[in-house]
Symmetry: C2
Subunit: 194 residues, 2 copies
């Protein structure tokens, strides 16, 4: 038997076609606000294009502001519950730097910006990703309000990651992040984990 055995299909994860043009030419993202606007912009575009859930995320080098990975939620179109925006952004970033940890060897420090507070799965992935900082816009409560479940995340979860050197900043441009969630709800988008 070979890798073509249908019981063990190859999984292919590709960003939506619109993403490269949407992000445009590489440039440094010089502030927290600029980095968050990209994450929120990805979320909004994902809703407007109908290519997934109302979530976007991006990984940056902290000091240079270079974009290293980006992702949008692709759960429904890819039929894959793992493909939250943060997971996609981590996978892209790790593939691009060629290491399973963004804190590996000679790499500069990295951070994650996400349009909404990470769910339990993505918070766990954050710990393994090697990013040293996580910034989000909309909060868990905002996601709950449109019936998205965020899973078992507690104050002690954040404390666990903090003790391992990860910093958090929540609620940056919260209104803009929340507006994307409401836009999705108005559009009648699937709540795939409600």
């Amino acid at each position: 038997m070979t890798a073509a055995d249908p019981r063990f299909p190859e999984i292919r994860i590709a960003c939506p076609d619109w993403m490269p043009d949407f992000v445009g030419v590489d440039r440094p993202y010089s502030s927290d606000d600029a980095r968050m606007r990209l994450a929120i912009g990805l979320a909004r575009e994902n809703v407007d294009r109908g290519t997934g859930g109302p979530f976007g995320a991006a990984v940056f080098e902290v000091d240079s502001g270079r974009l290293v990975g980006a992702g949008v939620n692709m759960v429904v179109p890819a039929r894959n519950a793992v493909l939250h925006a943060e997971i996609v952004a981590f996978m892209m970033a790790q593939q691009r730097v060629g290491a399973y940890s963004l804190a590996a060897g000679q790499l500069p420090a990295h951070e994650l910006f996400t349009s909404c507070e990470p769910c339990a799965m993505c918070l766990g992935a954050t710990l393994w990703s090697g990013v040293g900082r996580v910034v989000w816009a909309a909060t868990r409560e905002d996601a709950n309000r449109i019936a998205f479940d965020e899973g078992p995340v507690f104050p002690s979860s954040y404390e666990y990651l903090r003790q391992r050197g990860i910093e958090f900043r929540g609620g940056l441009l919260r209104d803009e992040g929340r507006a994307v969630l409401e836009r999705y709800q108005r559009a009648g988008g699937d709540i795939y984990n409600g």
Copy 2:
């Protein structure tokens, strides 16, 4: 720009070449022990073949015992921190049934067997996966003993999932699961999230 933009690489996830032959011809796995022996066997083979960390997982239909998805840890060879055995097994299973939830529509009930207690990321993924039951062999303490971190998982995390209808059975064939961890340690395997 196209999907070939190097900033947004396609991610391809393929099981190790040995997996189809190792699993062999499809047959029902008629008991918890039989299902767990497959998960532990995958973990052991992954260590012996040098294709990743000491963890294996498989998704089954509860009633028929049909194998629906299988995975091994591929973090180091794939340079991808997300690719724990459980995540790979969920992705494979969801691709195979063609739905992002294994609890979708007309599907029969599914369950996850894993050679070691799930980490925080994988426990979160469990909630989104649609499986109704999780069974593991080696425990969090066994993983910790060889310096693998399991992340922020608390009694309240399990309670959260139980309230959403997910059942747990820990420590089934624990000695066999733990033996694979110790085998990996003796072989000098990378502790990639210690």
